[in-house]
């Protein structure tokens, strides 16, 4: 394709960032099933499963905790996110602009975009651990926070460049790639775990439970790692994508859905990716620990290569790539609302560069559980604001989309709900020792209550530009 043709094609990509999706552009159920299955069977699954092993989760706690947590996540998408998305058909960012005003949304979007970049960065870093295998790259260990070699940086930049180029071509291309890779990736996770079970001492199905407790999820954390319980697992599984369901980020995805029930298509991602893939990757890591005499090296690519050969390593690369694509796309949308006149592809290009630089730091991988929890909690309050604005405010005689109707740039009620919730979370964490994994649940109620109470006072003091609908 000629250069002019590529630019013309990129500029023709229209993602309807500032207008409702027209009915002709709605997508069928299969698009969402494919996207969720692909997106949540990802590079990070090769990290999260092993980190549960490192944190000494017991077998029962993991298997039951994951089931309950993932079920709650699916229900959150189905009952909280999707119904609002199909009613409004707007991106999270455009909807927030109407509720909170442009000033607050710009601030929110920068934070949101940066968090997405870090998340996508961790996925690219995971892929790099597989790309580095044939080059004998020194792999990072559990305690590494900074890049450990020039080769590592090169590997990260190669993966980052490819991911960014695909993301620049928009949702359609991302969805198509997920469709192609997802079925195969899922089977690789499953097949690799089944094949290594005999190496761990499982020679029949009846052996599994005893080996699971004695050699895989032993209930004893590795040196330097905290102890995880059933509650850690359940809340982590529920809130791993908190920004996307309770935080409403996936309004941008489900605005394309024909029906709100498509929200339950997230079950493919949760129960294949966040259930079986986490169990499978934990099994692979247990074998790696057994064979390496409890090595501190933490390289998902190497773990997969040991278990499934070249196919395992390629799976890690593609799994990271598939997830990083929609994440960079989301980050692009977040940052584009700050600079709405920029074309989507240009914003995505810059987003991809920031993501790739972040991916050079192994800390993103080693502290992934904490980062994912913080990221969800940080963005969750705005999801509570959207939920209350959509379902509750009118019942109290208050106006929805208040910033738009009052013609203000900053809705202090929404801003206060966000900031105070984060302060309350910080205090709960620092003063009462409540871990970040548990903050999202009380935080949602704090944000909701503050938004209602402050709106009551705030809206009575300011006049609406137009009559409330």
């Amino acid at each position: 394709m000629k250069k002019k043709g590529i630019v013309a094609h990129l500029e023709a990509v229209n993602e309807y960032e500032r207008e409702p999706i027209p009915s002709s552009k709605l997508k069928g159920l299969k698009s969402f099933i494919g996207m969720y299955a692909g997106e949540h069977t990802a590079g990070t699954e090769f990290v999260i499963g092993p980190l549960f092993v490192a944190h000494g989760v017991a077998a029962f706690d993991l298997i039951v905790g994951l089931f309950v947590g993932n079920l709650l996540a699916v229900l959150s998408w189905g009952f909280l996110t999707a119904p609002i998305a199909v009613k409004t058909r707007m991106t999270l960012y455009f909807q927030l602009e109407k509720i909170c005003g442009t000033s607050l949304v710009k601030f929110y979007n920068v934070i949101n975009g940066v968090m997405f970049c870090f998340l996508a960065g961790s996925m690219i870093a995971v892929s790099a651990t597989a790309v580095g295998i044939p080059f004998g790259l020194a792999m990072p260990s559990l305690s590494d926070m900074l890049p450990n070699s020039f080769g590592w940086v090169v590997a990260v930049f190669v993966i980052g460049a490819i991911t960014t180029v695909v993301a620049m071509f928009g949702y359609q291309q991302v969805s198509k790639f997920a469709n192609i890779a997802a079925p195969w990736m899922i089977l690789i996770f499953l097949a690799a775990a089944i094949a290594v079970l005999p190496e761990l001492g499982v020679h029949s199905i009846s052996d599994f439970w005893a080996v699971a407790n004695e050699k895989i999820w032993t209930g004893v954390p590795m040196q330097g790692q905290s102890q995880f319980t059933f509650w850690h697992v359940m809340f982590f599984a529920w809130f791993a994508n908190m920004a996307m369901h309770i935080g409403m980020s996936d309004l941008s995805i489900f605005r394309y859905a024909k029906k709100w029930q498509y929200g339950f298509s997230s079950a493919t991602g949760m129960f294949i990716g966040h259930y079986f893939a986490w169990l499978a990757s934990g099994i692979l890591y247990a074998l790696f620990l057994q064979q390496s005499n409890n090595s501190a090296e933490f390289a998902p690519g190497v773990v997969a290569f040991n278990a499934a050969g070249i196919a395992g390593a390629v799976c890690v690369i593609i799994a990271g790539w598939t997830t990083a694509n929609p994440t960079i796309y989301r980050a692009g949308l977040a940052l584009q609302s700050v600079v709405p006149k920029w074309k989507t592809w240009k914003v995505t290009l810059i987003t991809g560069l920031v993501t790739t630089i972040a991916a050079c730091f192994p800390a993103l991988v080693m502290k992934l559980l904490d980062f994912v929890a913080i990221y969800g909690f940080l963005l969750m309050p705005m999801g509570a604001v959207i939920f209350i604005d959509f379902h509750v405010l009118k019942r109290f005689g208050l106006s929805d989309f208040y910033a738009e109707k009052a013609g203000i740039k900053l809705n202090w009620a929404a801003g206060s709900a966000w900031i105070i919730t984060l302060i309350v979370g910080l205090l709960l964490n620092k003063l009462m020792g409540i871990e970040v994994f548990f903050l999202g649940f009380p935080g949602w109620f704090v944000a909701s209550a503050i938004y209602i109470i402050f709106s009551k006072f705030y809206q009575s003091k300011t006049n609406l530009k137009t009559a409330s609908t």
């Binding site: 159920l29 192609i180 195969w184 690789i188 094949a195 339950f264 050969g309 196919a311």
Partner: protein
Amino acid sequence: MKNIILKLVSYLALAGTIIPSMLVFFGDMSLQTNKNIMTISMIVWFATVPFWINKSADKMGDEEELII
């Protein structure tokens, strides 16, 4: 006809990914042989699937409805 053959080959590649691992589990195949078969299956999958999977998704995606 061409699509049917491609689909069949793709599904065989998926079978080649999962079935050998079961044979390893039951002690009928070595782990190394399994790894080799998985690699071949991967190549076959990615060589054949782009020709049909997204075409089917586009066609069905616009028509399929969820009934609850």
